[in-house]
């Protein structure tokens, strides 16, 4: 049996591959849990009913999906121009820092303060990616390394601020800033408006990238930088704009987390959302609108993990199960490009040796 690789596949095939991959991963994981003595149907039922079967579970999913949508969108936007923003984590923290500073230092009505904090968070994320963006645009320095390394700087900066100048001395076991008094209003019960903001941003980004001249230039620059340059598209400027937009979106995620759920600046507030966002973007194939289902799936996996833990599954097994799902999806995505060849594929004729021109 031979297989051939197709140059492109339809969205239906891709979706089928994803679903099959998730099913295969859960079956594999379920088998392992069954061997370890767990009642797998009970566990599966618990995860589904706790995450999708109750208003409470759906709210939790929404809360978890909010930052994932934004960090996923941040990475996806950069992917459109062919760049990897690995620094979502750092930009998230930078956004959280600036937004908390604004919330703690300034006073005003929440209707003014919350948009101001959002702008501050966006600006913080932009500031954190500025250096990698300039280095990429003018010096062609690999953005993967620079954005990644700045994550560690951001974590250390947060830890410094929380144990030093911004520390709330009334915290007993962890270092955190004082309580930020401005809270994002709730949409439904515990689910704050941040989810609506995130979804709106996805739609706006999808429209900007898909339906405007600017978005066209970004995509052309992503597909072939030289062609874009040749067409006079101002690649350098598009590169800078896209990276700054990406950083800003991740920074906004940091602001939403401060003003929406945690209400303090503290180490660990990012919960790895920056890194998980990269996975979300990859699952979405870099398409902004596909970030929504990808983030929802990721949120379901992570939330399911918490449910599983309360049933006695160790946190490490949960992590392994999450990894298994993502691995299967990545493999499934590649396999989707192959189909059994109807007949033995014709081997390409070896090219005739080039004759040296004299």
């Amino acid at each position: 049996m031979r297989f051939q690789r197709l140059p492109s596949i339809g969205a239906g095939v891709m979706i089928l591959a994803r679903v099959a991959a998730v099913a295969a991963a859960l079956l594999t994981g379920g088998l392992a849990f069954a061997l370890a003595g767990f009642d797998v149907p009970e566990l599966a039922g618990a995860v589904i009913s706790a995450s999708l079967g109750t208003a409470f579970g759906l709210e939790d999913l929404g809360l978890l999906a909010t930052p994932l949508i934004l960090t996923g969108l941040a990475a996806a936007v950069c992917l459109r121009i062919g760049l990897w923003n690995i620094g979502g984590e750092g930009q998230f923290y930078a956004g959280a820092i600036i937004a908390s500073l604004v919330g703690l230092q300034l006073q005003g009505p929440p209707a003014l303060m919350l948009p101001l904090m959002a702008l501050a968070g966006f600006a913080g994320g932009m500031a954190w990616i500025l250096l990698p963006a300039l280095a990429r645009a003018y010096l062609a320095i690999d953005e993967i390394i620079t954005t990644l390394l700045l994550n560690f700087v951001a974590v250390l900066l947060v830890n410094y601020l929380c144990t030093g100048p911004m520390r709330d001395p009334h915290q007993a076991v962890t270092a955190a800033s004082a309580h930020v008094p401005y809270e994002i209003p709730a949409m439904i019960d515990d689910l704050h408006l941040g989810l609506a903001v995130a979804v709106l941003l996805v739609v706006l980004a999808a429209l900007a990238l898909g339906r405007t001249g600017w978005g066209f230039e970004v995509r052309v620059a992503g597909a072939n930088r030289h062609a874009a340059n040749y067409a006079g598209m101002g690649v350098r400027r598009r590169l800078l704009q896209t990276m700054l937009l990406s950083g800003g979106i991740a920074g906004l995620a940091g602001m939403l987390e401060v003003a929406g759920t945690v209400h303090r600046l503290q180490g660990g507030i990012s919960n790895n959302y920056g890194y998980l966002g990269i996975i979300v973007a990859v699952l979405a194939g870099g398409a902004p609108i596909a970030v929504l289902p990808a983030a929802a799936l990721m949120a379901l996996l992570l939330n399911g993990g918490i449910v599983l833990q309360s049933y006695g599954v160790s946190s490490y097994d949960v992590l392994a199960l999450t990894g298994l799902v993502l691995l299967f999806i990545a493999v499934g995505e590649q396999l989707a490009y192959y189909r059994p060849a109807a007949r033995p594929a014709i081997a390409p004729k070896p090219a005739p040796p080039l004759e040296h021109a004299r």
Partner: protein
């Protein structure tokens, strides 16, 4: 003599209440009783959230031992356990999960503050007990141990065993447990060796074996010849063993990771406390607003001395321990902080609540600032 102390025998519920079960004014027990009616054992759901992995052989492990005792006492109840709960929105999610699954009482082995209150303020019928917590509510209380007492006792041993008088401390963050632990240990050491000093390295985590091992190495490289710390696990003991330096640990008996270095441990036993709390919740007598500090001999103590602790050192430190068990408070002024400011005037003593909320390192400490 190397026998373990009869901690469990000392630990009675009577002792527990004598040891510091305080009901603050304003939270009427009668009101609480209405909120928390009795629950049949086979209908009860008891939840425990751990800040670290329960396999840490330290902090979270010790709390799990407590929960296992509850399981043994009330085998028909349903139990929910989640480990490694981070200080992020994941904590809130986990607590909501406990509520959704019908928990009657939830124990948390760390302070989660706002992340908890976001859930507990809405889940009024659920009883919440927060370890090392600092706020109370109509369905919430906190509990902790007077770890400064055995820290003082082991500090006496450290002062006698150190040759240079330079002690090292592997700490987490600038929080009260670190300040009071450092101060009590150094006060104990200075009671027998007035020139003792203590260098602190904070690693910004309660569970990071690699960073703890690096901090331990750095302290020994700087000339410290005895280590103390407050880690959830035993990494710096292994460093101490390799470098031939004695070490005082926390949480559990971890001497197998460094039998020669092991001096003792601020050893924890939550079993009586957790069994008592769960029992009270089941029979409808659980009260909100409890502030429980378990004293030496009631839930915290020094561990049996390590093999390398000389007999005279054991005798001298244990004599101090006996005095303290008899009610003597060694935390007496004058005590100056690291900036030279007098914090406790001559003749004044530091109460348990002073120690519990301590926010300053005493003179002789380096590597910490006034919080």
């Amino acid at each position: 003599m190397n026998g373990r102390l009869p901690r469990r025998d000392l630990l009675t519920l009577a002792g527990l209440s004598a040891g510091g079960l305080v009901l603050p004014r304003g939270i009427a027990p009668a009101r609480a009783a209405g909120l928390f009616p009795p629950v049949a054992e086979d209908k009860a759901v008891i939840a425990m959230g751990y800040v670290g992995p329960t396999s840490d052989e330290g902090w979270s492990f010790s709390h799990r031992q407590g929960l296992l005792a509850v399981k043994a006492a009330y085998p028909k109840a349903r139990y929910l356990e989640v480990e490694t709960i981070p200080y992020s929105a994941d904590a809130t999610r986990t607590f909501r999960q406990f509520v959704a699954q019908g928990a009657n009482i939830v124990f948390l082995n760390s302070e989660y503050g706002d992340l908890l209150h976001a859930v507990s303020d809405k889940a009024k019928g659920v009883a919440w007990m927060e370890c090392d917590g600092h706020s109370l509510g109509p369905n919430r209380g906190w509990f902790y141990v007077k770890h400064w007492q055995p820290s003082y006792v082991t500090g006496v041993a450290a002062g006698l065993m150190s040759k240079t008088g330079k002690l090292g401390y592997v700490g987490s963050m600038p929080v009260p447990t670190v300040f009071s632990g450092v101060n009590a240990f150094l006060m104990g050491a200075r009671s027998v060796r007035p020139d003792a000093t203590m260098q602190v390295i904070l690693i910004n985590s309660w569970f990071d074996p690699q960073a703890a091992a690096q901090a331990g190495t750095a302290l020994i490289d700087n000339g410290c010849d005895l280590l103390f710390g407050v880690m959830d696990e035993a990494a710096y003991l292994q460093v101490a063993e390799k470098r031939g330096v004695p070490a005082v640990m926390w949480n559990t008996d971890v001497r197998r990771y460094g039998p020669k270095s092991y001096v003792s441990s601020i050893v924890l036993d939550w079993t009586k406390f957790y069994v008592g709390q769960a029992g009270a919740r089941l029979d409808g007598t659980w009260q909100a607003g409890q502030q429980v500090l378990l004293g030496m001999g009631e839930g915290v103590d020094r561990d049996a001395w390590g093999e390398s602790v000389p007999e005279p050192v054991r005798r001298q430190a244990d004599a101090v321990r006996t005095r303290m068990l008899g009610g003597w408070n060694p935390f007496v002024g004058e005590i100056k902080d690291i900036d030279g400011k007098v914090r406790v005037a001559k003749g004044e003593t530091m109460s348990d609540m002073d120690m519990y909320g301590c926010s300053w390192p005493m003179a002789g400490v380096s590597g910490l600032k006034v919080g």
